[in-house]
């Protein structure tokens, strides 16, 4: 598209990210959690795919679904169990700076979220059923904006609690009147 100008190879492989990365990575247990989540989703999908393979009549014009749907299900399972957790772990990062909470999430689409401590309204710590198995918690930081919520996923439970307490305490001290 750009004529004969060759892009430097660095840009082709790792395109420049719009903003810098947060400093800290998640707990490694998060990989185990993501694998488990992927396995559970794959089991349900597999049941659905098996039903399709059994009940689609072989004579109909949609007979190709008998192999296409199970194949898609297998592909999905391989990606969610074998690829995505490690990919995500490499991408996901978080950081609490002097005046903001900063996270990076996603694997194909990446989202950087930055919320200043002065605009924090509430800080929640949640532990899902699976998270409890792996000893993890999620810290959710809420602001006045419905879209300005930042979640730090899958921190070790004690780290999460410390982070939440610290944030709540600092938010109280520097809270802005402007919401």
């Amino acid at each position: 598209m750009g004529g004969n100008v060759r892009h430097p190879p660095r840009q082709m492989t790792t395109a420049p990210s719009p903003v810098r990365e947060p400093a800290w990575s998640l707990s490694r247990s998060a990989i185990g959690l993501w694998v488990t989540e992927g396995a559970i989703a794959s089991v349900f999908l597999g049941i659905g795919a098996a039903a399709v393979a059994l009940f689609v009549p072989s004579s109909a014009s949609v007979a190709f679904l008998r192999w296409a749907v199970p194949a898609a299900a297998v592909l999905y399972a391989v990606v969610t169990i074998g690829v995505r957790p490690w990919f995500r772990f490499r991408v996901h990062r978080w950081e609490i700076t002097a005046d903001a909470v900063y996270t990076l999430t996603g694997w194909l689409t990446r989202t950087w979220t930055l919320v200043p401590i002065s605009r924090i309204q509430t800080v929640d710590v949640t532990r899902g059923v699976l998270q409890q198995l792996f000893g993890l918690s999620t810290v959710a930081v809420l602001t006045a904006s419905s879209q300005g919520t930042v979640r730090v996923w899958h921190l070790e439970a004690d780290v999460a609690q410390r982070v939440a307490d610290d944030l709540a305490h600092r938010a109280e001290q520097v809270r802005d009147i402007a919401t």
């Binding site: 719009p18 903003v19 689409t109 989202t111 950087w112 002065s118 006045a144």
Partner: protein, 491 residues
């Protein structure tokens, strides 16, 4: 802090008894029995014809009168120096206390029937920011206009200055910000929401006709409906109805619209049948949006909304200019937020991306059409696909042309959208967070989307597909110092 003695103990007040009549006529309370009545009616049927209908009407009216009377009798409100207390409920009593410092706005409205009886309805809005919900609104229905004004001033002045008495507060000077010119009603047929108004009315009429008993329904001759001239009349009539209906609808909603500044508040008054009186605190205004639909752009019309923190039902209440010329819209918007200057357009890669995204649907249909033509001779699918593909290109170009962002000393601006092109002008202090998104394809093209999270309006306003390299500078220029976390090297 305490005023005279009667200030300490707020008096429980009742609404005017005349409201019972209004509510009887409008079935305000009896409406909740409708789900119970329908199966009864369905079971007995309307076989008796006129007599049953009349009996039903009388019965329902009596029921309505009874429930309206009971709920009037059980309803009291009191405005104290610190809070507004509303008590109600037929059997189980509910007492609702709204602290004055949580009240975000007061709206006085006068529907037609209320006006006949000289009454008003006051809505006290105490919405919290993050959790939207109608429950946060307190409605006191059916007081005299003077009492409504007193309540509004009382609630608002208690909040601004705790000490002074009601009524004694001097009326601050008014400054007119805008006034609706009735010629602007002619823009209405080009605005989607006003066009939808008569369409909805026609739909409701048809439904009503279906509900009527057989002998009350107007008789149509099936054969006459089928002829061509009848078709022309119907289509022409519908078009004319839509045109006239949209203008009439816009007039009903916006008649006599006036926006004035009184002290620290903006007050909007409007409506032909129902007069609405909405008050917004200027201190809570974080920005404005200027929206131009595709049809409105043809005639250079626009509408302006205020972005107010913690305002419930913001799309209606925040309207500062419901419909008007673009120039008028900009003059008004600039009075509230500094204009950050002309927009910076986004890089050419953003144009490619908009076109690709607008044509991808057409491409899929075209591909399916090719297969279908080869397999089954369904050439029409191919034609549809090609038409969609051809339309996608101008659509993508139009969507790209709308994109842009700008930063000024105290404010910034982002614009996007084609069907409704919306430009948000926001104060820098409005931003409560940033969300930068980059999809796989955006990363390959060096683009990113920066969403400014705002505790008002839609909650977030995005600069779509801006150059990835500009994001960090833009976020710092558009919000406060904390945003430099994006560019400052990690510790």
């Amino acid at each position: 802090m305490n005023g005279p003695i009667e200030q300490n103990e707020p008096i429980a007040r009742r609404t005017s008894p005349r409201i019972v009549l209004v509510h009887t006529v409008t079935f305000r309370q009896a409406r909740q029995f409708v789900p119970a009545v329908i199966p009864i009616v369905a079971a007995t049927g309307l076989g008796g014809g006129m007599t049953t209908v009349v009996a039903l009407v009388v019965g329902v009216t009596l029921l309505s009168l009874l429930t309206a009377g009971l709920s009037w009798w059980r309803f009291t409100y009191a405005d104290g120096p610190n809070s507004v207390v509303v008590t109600r409920g037929l059997l189980s009593r509910s007492v609702r206390t709204v602290p004055n410092d949580r009240i975000r706005g007061v709206e006085v409205e006068t529907p037609v029937l209320h006006r006949v009886f000289g009454l008003v309805r006051v809505r006290i809005d105490a919405a919290t920011g993050a959790v939207p919900g109608k429950d946060e609104e307190v409605v006191v229905d059916g007081m005299s206009a003077a009492e409504g004004d007193r309540l509004r001033t009382a609630v608002l002045t208690h909040r601004h200055v705790p000490a002074p008495d009601d009524g004694a507060a001097p009326v601050p000077a008014e400054e007119e910000f805008g006034r609706f010119d009735n010629r602007w009603l002619l823009y209405a047929p080009l605005v989607g929401s006003y066009l939808a108004l008569p369409a909805a009315a026609v739909g409701a009429l048809f439904r009503l006709a279906q509900e009527l008993p057989e002998n009350l329904r107007p008789d149509f001759d099936e054969a006459a409906l089928a002829s061509v001239s009848a078709l022309v009349i119907v289509v022409g009539g519908t078009l004319a109805l839509l045109l006239v209906g949209s203008v009439v609808g816009a007039a009903i909603v916006n008649w006599g619209f006036r926006l004035v500044r009184r002290g620290g508040s903006l007050i909007a008054v409007r409506g032909l049948l129902t007069r609405r009186h909405t008050e917004l605190e200027i201190d809570r205004i974080r920005g404005t949006t200027i929206a131009e639909g595709a049809g409105m752009r043809l005639v250079r019309a626009a509408r302006v909304n205020a972005l107010v923190t913690g305002l419930g039902d913001a799309t209606r209440r925040g309207q500062l200019l419901p419909l008007g010329p673009r120039q008028e819209a900009w003059t008004l918007a600039r009075r509230l937020v500094d204009d950050p200057g002309p927009l910076v357009s986004h890089p050419p890669a953003a144009r490619r991306r908009r076109i690709v995204r607008a044509t991808v649907g057409g491409l899929v249909v075209t591909a399916a059409g090719l297969v279908a033509t080869a397999a089954a001779g369904w050439w029409w699918l191919l034609v549809v696909g090609l038409v969609l593909l051809a339309l996608g290109v101008p659509l993508g170009l139009g969507r790209y042309a709308a994109l842009g962002h700008a930063t000024g000393p105290g404010s910034f601006s982002v614009r996007s959208g084609w069907l409704v092109r919306e430009q948000a002008l926001l104060q820098r202090r409005a931003v409560v967070g940033w969300q930068v998104r980059q999809s796989f394809f955006q990363r390959r093209n060096g683009l990113a989307t920066a969403l400014a999270c705002v505790g008002a309006g839609r909650g977030g306003y995005a600069a779509i597909d801006m150059a990835a390299a500009d994001v960090a500078d833009f976020t710092v220029a558009a919000s406060e110092l904390w945003a430099s976390t994006f560019s400052r090297p990690a510790p």
